[in-house]
Amino acid sequence: MITLIRPALVLIVALTAITGLAYPLAVTGLAQTLLPRQAEGSLIERGGRVVGSRLIGQPFAEARYFHGRPSATTAPDPADVTKTIPVPYNAANSGGANLGPTSAALSERIKGDLETLRSDNPGSAIPVDLVTTSGSGLDPDISPEAAEFQVPRVARARGLPEPRVRALVAANTADRLLGVVGEKRVNVLELNLALDALPPG
């Protein structure tokens, strides 16, 4: 037994230092040198202020912006820290709704969201990603169909012709990797930044 304690102690200490400190710190150093923008979180600045990260979705409610997917993230209730309150797109506490396929709560939520969305664009089929929460609650993307669905509302709110907005959506639609891997998607924050950057008129 004694003959086993020395190697166990030495290896635990040495390998902990190597894998728990040297390795992450070396990777941090390399990443900060070689890929500083990504290593810091792919932040987007506008007018000298950080407006978000291109990888992290943020809440949009105004009609003149494209909206992301519903988000189920929460935060502690300021009135009672043992409870949580819904705070969509809380990027300090990621998580999903975790409602199962036979959940009455899921059914109720989708029903409510569908009614709100219908008034945006009556007559069009509603894409499924606009009424389902993402796994992280921070999904930065929507499907091209979900963007197309919102084009009339955004164009109306901004007084822009629909084709102009549609062209912007197309320019901000990313294809699958090599046309195969992943899904077509539109980054909501980048699309909205592009909208804001349009010259007035």
Binding site: T16, V51, A97, T102
Partner: protein
């Protein structure tokens, strides 16, 4: 289901298959003590470690010493991890000012990481400091993975040696695995992940002002270094609460594909290590083929179920599959495939919320874990789990023809079969026993977030995941309570050590046996008949054990959903 979806699945399989032989060759060199191309750099480090630790490079252990060394190493790792978590408020690298980790949560998390489970009752970005993430979690990600691989290699030595007293040195196997396999793969992999967008910083969380003027605090940290080993080591414990669904843990379709490949890479390659070390690569391919049959069947079911969507979505006329709990960039196929991969291996990382999967889509991850994650498996854990089933399959074949069963020239006797059954039976004991307790006591019933059969599935999934050392969850379950922290930790510890120790006992007794030459009566174990028999034994043992529990959960939920029924909580 789409053609493109199947092309993505085929692409994934092709990449994994292409890696099996090169990685298998390299790992064989590492574990037979040969020089590798990294020896000039790492050799001095390795020899220095041995000198300080008093390890003789030529000294090997019998299976009992190997097992005691392994248990001692785990016990120390457990104490270090528990201590670091409990002390995180007074230790450095805590820019977000994370508070104290409660004793039961620290106990659960320590058990979780030491056993390579990585069940997340902790919230990641809302609970742990950067130091806890690096020193406590990342280091155990390496060591628990290295231990798993070491054990698989020890069992392989049992098959490949004859009349031997020893099965290798635990210290050397763990050190070489960490230095020569895991670290050299993780450094470039972590940088690739940063390139894809995963943060790697010690800066505090970022305060952003959104376009609509709201405040958004964005959690960052040294994420990439942890994600790399969490995948390669099939640990699965996330830096963030949402795990690989979080855009900072899995930013792109490419990172998703590579992460899935890295979950399978080492486990699949170990079948080739097995083949090479028993001097017949076809034996390794036969085992991988049995794994592939189970994997492809599971993938087809989950992909089909998720692409078909759920009854709730259908009731509103929504098409396009079940996107609830999934990310747009991965879509249906990228999420369904990931779910099958992560539970086929004992990874447990998730890129979509399994809780929100359709009943049948979520059934497959459950079955994968209940079978013991023998499909590729956790690094090492899958192979020794599969070899345990091989022994049972060989035993059954022997009974059928009335001959003493043998495998790779080793006679399989009562002792090996008993040990194999012990390893196989401890999993249902913890999975079903734990579920049974939780469904009758109030503290257990307080856990589920969903009502009806889905609530039962949440409990079943938790105990299954814990005992199988997977770590994925039907995350609606409120697991961070005294009851679940303790019960699940017990499940993890039993699920790990009551499989490992019998597996080592098998290694010891096999290594001591003589090799008998193959004769005309020897059952060939590299052909389709054997693969079929092995798959059959796995499905029969698994089916008989777990079908009743599945019938109460996912299966009844599927039928209720098909009848248009929904379940409300509190009603």
């Amino acid at each position: 289901m789409t053609i493109n979806g199947w092309i993505q699945i085929a692409l994934f399989c092709a990449i994994v298959l292409a890696l099996v032989r090169p990685l298998g060759l390299y790992m064989t060199h590492v574990f037979t003590g040969e020089r590798t191309f990294l020896s000039p750099v790492l050799g001095p480090v390795e020899r220095g470690l041995y000198r300080v630790a008093g390890i003789r490079p030529d000294h090997e252990q019998d299976w009992q010493s190997y097992a005691v060394a392994m248990l001692l190493f785990h016990a120390l790792g457990f104490l270090v991890l528990y201590g670091l978590l409990r002390l995180q408020t007074v230790l450095p690298f805590n820019p977000a000012g994370q508070g104290e980790v409660a004793p039961d949560l620290a106990f659960n998390t320590a058990a979780s990481f030491v056993t390579n489970t990585n069940w997340q009752n902790y919230g990641g970005e809302s609970t742990l400091s950067y130091l806890s993430q690096m020193l406590a979690l990342t280091h155990q990600n390496f060591l628990s993975a290295a231990t798993g691989i070491a054990l698989a290699v020890a069992l392989i030595r049992g098959f490949s040696r004859a009349s031997a007293k020893t099965v290798g040195s635990f210290w050397i196997d763990v050190t070489r695995c960490t230095l020569y396999v895991l670290l050299p793969l993780c450094v470039p992999y972590a940088l690739f992940l940063v390139w894809q967008g995963i943060p790697q910083t010690l800066q505090p969380y970022i305060d952003a002002t959104t376009l609509e003027g709201a405040k958004q605090t964005i959690a960052v940290g040294p994420v990439a270094s942890q994600v790399a080993i969490k995948m390669l080591g099939t640990n699965g414990g996330g830096f963030f609460n949402a795990n690989a669904a979080h855009p900072f843990e899995n930013p792109t379709a490419l990172s998703n594909l590579v992460q899935m490949v890295s979950i399978f890479a080492l486990g699949a390659a170990l079948t080739n290590v097995f083949g090479r070390m028993v001097r017949d690569e076809k034996q390794g391919w036969a085992i991988l083929a049995a794994m592939a049959v189970l994997f492809l069947a599971g993938t087809a079911v989950t992909y089909w179920a998720e692409a078909s969507g759920s009854s709730v979505l259908h009731a509103f006329g929504l098409t396009g599959g079940n996107l609830e709990g999934k990310e747009v960039r991965f879509g249906i196929v990228g999420s369904a495939l990931f779910a099958v991969v992560t539970t086929a291996a004992s990874c447990g990382a998730v890129n979509a919320m399994h809780d929100a999967f359709t009943a049948l889509g979520g059934l497959i991850p459950l079955i994968n874990m209940q079978l013991g994650e023998i499909i590729v498996g956790g690094v090492g854990a899958g192979l020794y789990g599969m070899l345990v089933f091989v022994i049972v399959a060989i035993f059954v074949a022997g009974l059928m023809v009335g001959r003493t069963p043998e495998y790779l020239g080793k006679k399989i006797d009562a002792r090996e079969v008993k040990m194999a059954m012990l390893a196989i039976l401890c999993l249902p004991l913890m999975m079903l026993g734990g579920t049974a307790v939780a469904t009758v006591v109030a503290a257990g019933l307080a856990g589920p977030a969903n009502a009806g059969p889905h609530g039962f599935s949440e409990i079943l999934y938790a105990f299954t995941s814990a005992a199988a050392n997977n770590g994925s969850a039907f995350a609606g379950l409120s697991g961070n309570t005294l009851f679940y922290n303790t019960m699940l930790a017990a499940g993890m510890l039993v699920g790990r050590f009551f499989v490992i120790v019998p597996a080592l006992a098998i290694a010891g007794s096999l290594a001591a046996k003589k090799t008998v030459p193959a004769s005309a009566g020897t059952f060939p174990t590299d052909g389709g008949l054997f693969i079929g028999l092995l798959v059959g034994v796995i499905l029969i043992v698994g089916g008989l054990t777990f079908f009743p529990s599945l019938a109460l959960g996912p299966i009844v939920e599927h039928l209720a959903g098909a009848a248009g029924q929904t379940f409300a909580t509190g009603g």
